[in-house]
């Protein structure tokens, strides 16, 4: 019995986001949309604050490295933590005096151009396509990543900076074991170490990393145990878990900032072993 005559051959619906699928295909892009939006809003807010990013001996990863600091601000890093000294007088008055604004660009670009996040936000934010076998939200003439999205090809340059940040974040975590010269450990230290580790897992599992350490060669081992092949194997292991590290590190970096902020504001007390 003919039940329905559709205009598109094969019985396919037309129009944006139309599909025959009956499962809840929109759940995953919706979660992506919500998490990425909440994260971006929070990070922007936190970066604009310029205060309570330091709770001795913890430094929020959103503010690391501290290039300049204004130690008179509540919860600001002490001058010893600053790479270049006190807050510069040339800083334009209309911008909040926040050290985060000086350093967040690179991690931001790194995530934005990440092959995995591209998938996530092309699907969730631009509907290109929203999910598999679901009609894309129309664009005039589709050109993929060849037109204005061509800058995505410079992802590896963002990676170079991201690797640098991993070392800095581990350094921060290491420094968080000393309060006023006394060795110890607090919940915040664990939070900071986990943060560096998640971000490290994310960064070293990068597709561009996988290519650069060995994937770009056809003969990675040529029958020998080469460092190149070994590195490629390790990066490949992380790479297979790249989405997991991407989400874990995203959530954790936000959480770390919240933790340090709340401790710095005195809202919560950090459990630790220090006596001073």
């Amino acid at each position: 019995m003919p039940t329905r005559q559709l205009t598109v051959l094969g019985g396919y619906p037309t129009g944006p986001a139309a599909t025959i699928r009956k499962d809840r295909w929109w759940v995953s892009p919706a979660i992506t949309l919500i998490v990425l939006t909440v994260f971006s809003v929070y990070v922007t807010w936190a970066a604009l604050q310029g205060d309570h990013y330091y709770a001795n001996p913890y430094l929020s990863p959103l503010y690391s490295p501290v290039l300049y600091t204004d130690p008179s601000v509540a919860g600001a890093a002490p001058i010893a933590h600053s790479w270049l000294g006190v807050w510069p007088s040339w800083w334009p008055g209309f911008l909040p005096a926040s050290p985060a604004l000086l350093i967040l660009f690179f991690p931001g670009v790194f995530r934005f151009t990440c092959y995995y996040y591209r998938k996530a936000y092309y699907r969730a934010f631009t509907g290109s396509p929203p999910a598999c076998a679901v009609n894309p939200v129309a664009s005039r003439r589709y050109r993929g990543e060849t037109a204005w999205l061509i800058f995505q090809n410079l992802h590896r340059y963002a990676l170079y900076f991201a690797v640098l940040y991993i070392f800095i974040l581990y350094y921060d975590a290491f420094v968080s074991l000393f309060r006023n010269g006394e060795f110890g450990i607090g919940v915040g230290s664990v939070v900071l170490f986990l943060n560096a580790t998640f971000l490290g897992g994310y960064t070293f599992g990068c597709h561009a990393m996988r290519h650069l350490v060995g994937g770009g060669f056809d003969c990675m081992s040529c029958g020998k145990t080469t460092a190149r092949y070994g590195a490629w194997k390790r990066v490949s292991w992380l790479n297979a878990r790249h989405p997991n590290f991407a989400w874990a590190s995203l959530v954790w970096v936000g959480f770390t900032d919240i933790y340090v902020r709340l401790v710095s504001m005195g809202v919560i007390t950090d459990l630790n072993t220090w006596t001073n």
Binding site: M1, T3, L6, G11, C132, G144, G216, C222
Partner: protein, 259 residues
Amino acid sequence: MSTRTFKIWRGDSGGGAFNEYDAEVDEGMVVLDVLHRIQALQANDLAVRWNCKAGKCGSCSMEINGRPKLACMTRMNTFGPDEVITVQPLKAFPVIKDLTCDVSWNYEQNKRIAPFKPQPRGRDGEHRMYQQDVDRVQEFRKCIECFLCQDVCHVVRDRGRKDAFVGPRFMIRLASLEMHPLDDDDRVPEIMKEYGSGMCNITRCCTDTCPENINITDNGIIPLKERVVDRYYDPLARLARLFAGRRMRTKTRSEEQSK
């Protein structure tokens, strides 16, 4: 045994419609079994392609409840008891009749790809390669050419850009040649300019769909995109090549010829 309702698209290049069939389903059946039962008992002229019934020939590709699938590998017990099962021909290719499509566009893409070009033999007169170096290209040999990835890829399926992109199946064929330790050909300019690596926006539907679980995007397309970056977009790599005096092709063969 239970009775299940199937909504099957019937028609040809001139048009068509969904027809409903109630069919008896036995335990252990797959969608292809039910289609055969409908064909035997209710619709003798139902066109459906199949061959191996073992997920190895890639003939029975169709869309089941809106998802590109192999009918012989889609078990009936994966559906809810009252679920109506919608079956359609692949969206990305022209319908011949009912559930069969003309997939010849894919064979045309395949013909465009230059075949394997072996390196000269080693000093001992042998070709040598090592298992660990070919592991990654062997993943792509699992392909059964079901073209489900081609069908689900939005560039091919919905964007009308068959002119600009060979599709995921042929991107991994290219990857298997380009990464092969014994292949002597350089395919990077063609990968970018003719086969269209930049058209893929790595949204991974091909990988999510592949019945052979080939990691098309991560292991095939992205590595190719990175090689394209080396050749065209990375300013430091270009500078390094300049200083080292290493010349690499940036024009495709047909661009070189048309000069």
